[in-house]
Homo-oligomer: 344 residues x 4
C-alpha cells in the first residue's frame, strides 16, 4: 500500500494529536514536524519517530519527499502557511477556519486554485461514524426530502477569556462546525440565517462583544429549515446531536456515552455521561479525516471536505454575526458583492 508522506506545521495540542495518529496510521508517513519552539517535544514519542523536528518551516516546504502538509498552527497563521505550501506544490490539510476573515479566505482559495493543489479543511465531524450514517441515510432518500435539520452542539466548558479575545467570536470559532454539519446533512446551501444569541455563561465575554448561548435558524435552497442550538457550557459533557426530518421519516444521532453501563439503586437509575469533549468524542474521526485525506490524494479522488466547504461555513459565521448585530434575518445573497467567490 502506498503511503502519503507529510509534514506537520504547528505542534500544539491538535498538532501532536495528528502526529500521533499519523505515526499509528497505515497510509501516512510523518517525515517532519515544525513548530516555532520544539522544546516541548524533547524525549517524546513524536521526537523518537519523526525524522525531522525543526523550527524552520522552509526545511519542510523544500523537502521533495513531503507531498502534503498538515497545518495546525494558530489560526492567524493559517492563510500564510496555506499559500506558502500551495506555492511549494504541497497538498494541504488545514484546521478550521482557513481564516477569521472571509475575504482573506477567498484569496487563499484563489492561490490554491492557481497552484492546482488540494485543500481539505478540518471539519472532523464529517468523519464521525454517527453523523456520517445520518448523512448517508439522507442521501439514500430513506427519509425522503429533508424538511427540518436540527443540530445541538454544546461544549462541556467555556474557553478562557484570553481564548475568547482572539477567537473571532463564537460563530466563527465554535458554530462554524455546526454550519458545516448543516450544509453536509442538508446537501444544500443556506439561503438566509437568523440568530437569537445571548451571553449568560460568562458575563466577561461581553467585553469582546461575544455570546455564549445561541439559537440559529436557517433556510436552505432545497426548502428545508434548519436550527442550531449552541452553548459554551454543558456541565454534563459534550452534547453533539443531529436530526434530519423529512417527508418519509426522521434520522437522528444521539451522543456517544463513556460506557453503556446502567446502575439502578433505590435512589436513582443512572447511566454514563457523554464522552467528555472533542478529543474523546471525535477520537476516531480525527484518525479518519487524515486517512481519507491520504486516500483522496494517493488515488486522486475528490476530497470529502474542501476549501470551499471552509469558505461557505465562514460566510455563514459572518452572516450569523451580522444577524445578531442587526437583529434581522440575513439573506446570504446580500453578501455576494462582499464575497464574490461562487466556486463550489
Amino acid at each position: 500500500m502506498k503511503t502519503l508522506s507529510v509534514g506537520i506545521i504547528g505542534a500544539g495540542r491538535i498538532g501532536r494529536l495528528h502526529a500521533e495518529n499519523i505515526l499509528q496510521s497505515n497510509n501516512l508517513h510523518l517525515k517532519a514536524v515544525c513548530d516555532i519552539n520544539t522544546e516541548h517535544l524533547k524525549g517524546s514519542f513524536i521526537e523518537k519517530n519523526v525524522p525531522i523536528i525543526t523550527t524552520n518551516v522552509s526545511k519542510l516546504l523544500s523537502d521533495d519527499d513531503i507531498e502534503a502538509v498538515i497545518i495546525c498552527s494558530s489560526t492567524d497563521t493559517h492563510s500564510h502557511y496555506i499559500k506558502e505550501a500551495a506555492i511549494s506544490n504541497k497538498h494541504i490539510f488545514c484546521e478550521k477556519p482557513i481564516s477569521k476573515n472571509v475575504t482573506e479566505t477567498e484569496e487563499v482559495l484563489r492561490v490554491i486554485k492557481e497552484n492546482g493543489v488540494k485543500l481539505q479543511v478540518g471539519f472532523n465531524r464529517r468523519f464521525d461514524k454517527h453523523f456520517r450514517k445520518v448523512q448517508q441515510t439522507v442521501q439514500s432518500k430513506q427519509i425522503g426530502t429533508p424538511q427540518l435539520i436540527k443540530i445541538s452542539s454544546r461544549d462541556p466548558e467555556p474557553p478562557t477569556l484570553e481564548y475568547v479575545a482572539g477567537a473571532g467570536g463564537m460563530f466563527m470559532d465554535m458554530t462554524i462546525h455546526d454550519f458545516d454539519m448543516a450544509r453536509y446533512l442538508a446537501d444544500s446551501e443556506v439561503v438566509d440565517i437568523s440568530v437569537n444569541a445571548t451571553n449568560v455563561i460568562n458575563p466577561q465575554f461581553s467585553i469582546y462583544d461575544d455570546v455564549d448561548t445561541a439559537i440559529i435558524t436557517m433556510t436552505f435552497e432545497n426548502g428545508a429549515l434548519g436550527v442550531i442550538d449552541n452553548s459554551r457550557q454543558a456541565v454534563y459533557g459534550y452534547d453533539q446531536r443531529v436530526e434530519v426530518f423529512g417527508d418519509k421519516g426522521v434520522v437522528s444521532a444521539d451522543n456517544e456515552n463513556e460506557t453503556n453501563v446502567k446502575i439502578a439503586t433505590q435512589e436513582t437509575v443512572s447511566m454514563d455521561h457523554p464522552k467528555y469533549f472533542f478529543l474523546e468524542r471525535y477520537h476516531e474521526a480525527y484518525r479518519e479525516e487524515l486517512n481519507e485525506f491520504a486516500n483522496a490524494i494517493i488515488r486522486n479522488k475528490p476530497l470529502l471536505c474542501t476549501g470551499n466547504d471552509g469558505f461557505q461555513a465562514e460566510k455563514l459565521a459572518f452572516a450569523a454575526k451580522k444577524s445578531k448585530e442587526e437583529n434581522r434575518t440575513i439573506c446570504l445573497s446580500e453578501l455576494n458583492n462582499l464575497f464574490p467567490t461562487t466556486d463550489r
Copy 2:
C-alpha cells in the same frame, strides 16, 4: 369524597372523550350533555349513563345541580358559551383556544373576572406525566437557571383542507399548545418571538395563507432562549419531546412508545413507534386535567392552567403570525396597546 357535578357542551370527538372519562372518574359526576344534534349518542354508553341529554343549552345552564361546564363545542362558539356559563355562575373548563381573536379572549376574561368563576383552558399537555416531571425538575432548580428551552411538536398527519380553512392558522391551532408548554417549562413570559415557517407538506394550505412546517425562536423574561419546531406531518407518528437546558444540567422528555418491545433480526433492529396521536399519547393527561380541575374547584385551590394561560398563548400565536408576515422579530411589548390585559 365529594364529586363535582358537571355538564358538557358539545359532544363531538373530544366531548365524548371527556364524557367517557368523567363517567369513569371518581370525583366528577356527569349530569348533562348538550349538543346541537344528539342523534349520534343514541344507544351509546353516554346516553345510558347521563341523566340529561339535550339540544337545549339553557337546560344545562339553569340546572342548579350543575356546578361546572365542560365546553367542547366548535371554537367559534367557545367565547359565547364561556360568557353564558360565567353569567350562570358555573365554573368552566374550555378546550383551547378560548377564541381565535385575542381581543375577544380579553373580553371573555373580563366576564370571567366579573362573575368570580374559575376558568381552566384545555392545555392537556401540562398534565402529561413526562412533561410534568420536566417542569417539576426545572422548578426544583436541579438544572439551575434555564438557558435553552426546546420543544419538538409534530403531528402524524396533516388536517384536511376544510379544517385548515377554519382553524385560524397553524400557530393558533397547533403551536398554541407548544407556546403554552414553553411558558409552563420556562416559568417566564416571552419577550420576543421570531418565526421561520414554510409550506412543504400540502401546497393547498397556502390558499389559506397557512404554513405546515416552522421553527419558532423566543426570548424569555428570565433570559432563556426557546425554540419550537413544528410539522403537520411526521409519518412515523406523534412526535412530542421537550428539553430544558440550564447552567447546572439538562432535563428532557422523550416520546412514549406503543410498547417497549425490541426486535433484532439479521436485517434490522426495530422498536415500536411513538403512540399514534394525541388521543393515544395524552389518554391519561385528558383524565388528569379534568381530575385536577374538579379537585381545584372542590377544594377551592388555584387551577394549574388558567384563562390567562390561554390568553398568553393566543397572544404568542398572534405574534408568531405577525412575525411570519412581516419577516421580523416581534417584541411582545409591541402588542400592549392592542391587547392591554396584563392580569396574570
Copy 3:
C-alpha cells in the same frame, strides 16, 4: 354493546381493584360484591355503585342476572368457590393459583368440565401490551424457531413473614406467573425443570423452608431452553423483562418506567425507575384481562388463559420445589402418575 353481568367474591385489595375496573368498563356490569366482612366498603365508590353488597355468597350465586363470578378471596377458598360457582352455572374468573395443591386443582378442573362453564385464571401478565407483543412476534415466526426463553422477574420488596407462612412457597406464589409466561411465550410445554435457589434476603424465610432468590432452568417440548431469574427484593423497583431468542432473531420487552424523563448534571445522568409494583405496572393489564374475559364469554370465543394454564403452572411450581429439595432435574413426565390430568 352487550355487557356481562358479574359478581365479585372477595373484596380485599385485588377484589376492590377489579371492582373499580369493572365499574369503569364498558362491557361488564357489577351486580354484586360479597365478602365475609363488608364494613370496609361503607361509603366507598363501590358501595355507591354496586346494587348488592353482601356477606352471603349464595345471594350472589343464586342471582340469575349474574352470569359470571370473579373470585378474589383468599387462596385457600378458591377451589371451594370455583366449584360452587360451576355448580351454579356461572362462568368464573379466579385469581391465581386455583389452589396450592395440584391434586385439588385437578379436581376443580373436573368440576368445571362437568358443568360446562368457562374458567379463566388471573395470569394478568398475558394481557400486558409489551409481553403480548413479544408473544405475537414469536407466533408470527419473525424470530424463527425459539431457542432460548429468558424471564427476569423480581419484586421490589419481599412479603411479610406472615404472608410467606401461608403462601405455599415462592414458586407457587410468585414464580407461578413466570411459569405461565414461559409457556405463553414458548407456546410449548415444559419437559424438565432444574432449580438453583437460595435464601439471601430475609433469613427468616427459611423457617418456612422457603427461598427468595432463584434461577430456574427448563427444557421445552419444542427444543427450546428457558431460564427464569427471581428475586423477592429488587430495591430499584419491579423488574419484569422477557426475551425470546430464535434462529432468525430475538425479541425482548424492557421495563415500563414511571416516565421517559432523563436528567443530566455534572454528577450524574439519571432516568426514572421502573413502575413500582404490579398494581402500577399491570394497571392496564388488569383491565384488559377482565375485558377479554367478558368478550370471550359474550361472543362464546376461547379464553386467552384457561384453567389448564393454571394447572400447568402449578405443576411447574410443584416440580420446581421438588427439584430444589432433591437437587436434581425433574422431568415433568415423572409427575404423570401423581397428576394424571392431561387435558390441555
Copy 4:
C-alpha cells in the same frame, strides 16, 4: 516512557491483530514475529516494521532484548511454548485457553511458578470498558452484595465443522470467556455448576458430541447465583451483555452498537446492530490488554488476569462438560483430586 520489547509466536488472525496493535502502541516494541510459515507476511505492514521475521522460535527465545512473548499459535501448542518461554526467562501473554486439558494446564502453571515469570491469559473481555465499569461498580459496593450474576454471550455465526472438531467443545472454546467473566464480576469462586445444553443450530456438531446452545447455572462461594446463556449463532450480531444484581441495586452493560443512529419511518423505527463480532466489539480491549500487560511488567505490578484465572476457567469448562454428560450438578470440590492445584 519505558517500552516492553516483545516477540510474537504465531501470526494468524489474532497474532497479526496483536502485531498491528503493538506497532501502534506507545509502551510496547515488537522485535520479532515467528510463525511456521511467514510467506503471508511478505510486503505487509508487519514485515516492514518488525526487525525479525522468522520461522525459528529459538531465534526469538534466545534474543536477550526480548523481555516477553505473546503466544498466538494454535491452542495445541500453547503449553509447549509457554514452558519454553518460561525456561528462557520471558514473561508471557498467551491466548486462551492455556490448554484444553486441565491437568496439562496445571503442569504449565508449575513451570511458570518455578521460573518466576509472569503469565497473562488472553481474557480480553476483562479489558472492555463496559465490563470493567460493571466490575468496578460491584467492587465499590454500590449495588451491595451480589446475589445474581447474569451473562448473555452469543456469537453471530457458528464456527465451521472443522473448527468444532478441534476446539475441545463449546464450553472450553467459547464459554470459557464467560466463566472468566463470571468469576471476574462475582469476585468469588464457583462452588457448583449445572448445565442445560442442546444442539439446535448445526446438527453436525453432534458428531463431535458438541452443543451450540446452553444455559449454565452456578453457585458462588459468596452465596450469589450465576447464569450464562450461550448461543453459537445470533443472526443479529454479537450479543455480549452482563448484569450483576445485589441487595442495594443492579448494574448492567448493554451491547455496543455500530452507531447511535435511529431511523423512524412509517413502516419501522430502527437502530443499528451490535458491533459484528469480537474483532469489532473488543477492538479497544485487545489494545488495552497488551497495554496493561506491558504496564504490569514494566512497573512490576500484579497482572489483571493471571495463569490461575486461565486454570479456574478451564476447570469450569471441564465441570460444565461433565454436568452435561452426567445430567447433574457438579460440585467443584469433586474435582479437587483430579486437579489439586489450589494456588490462586
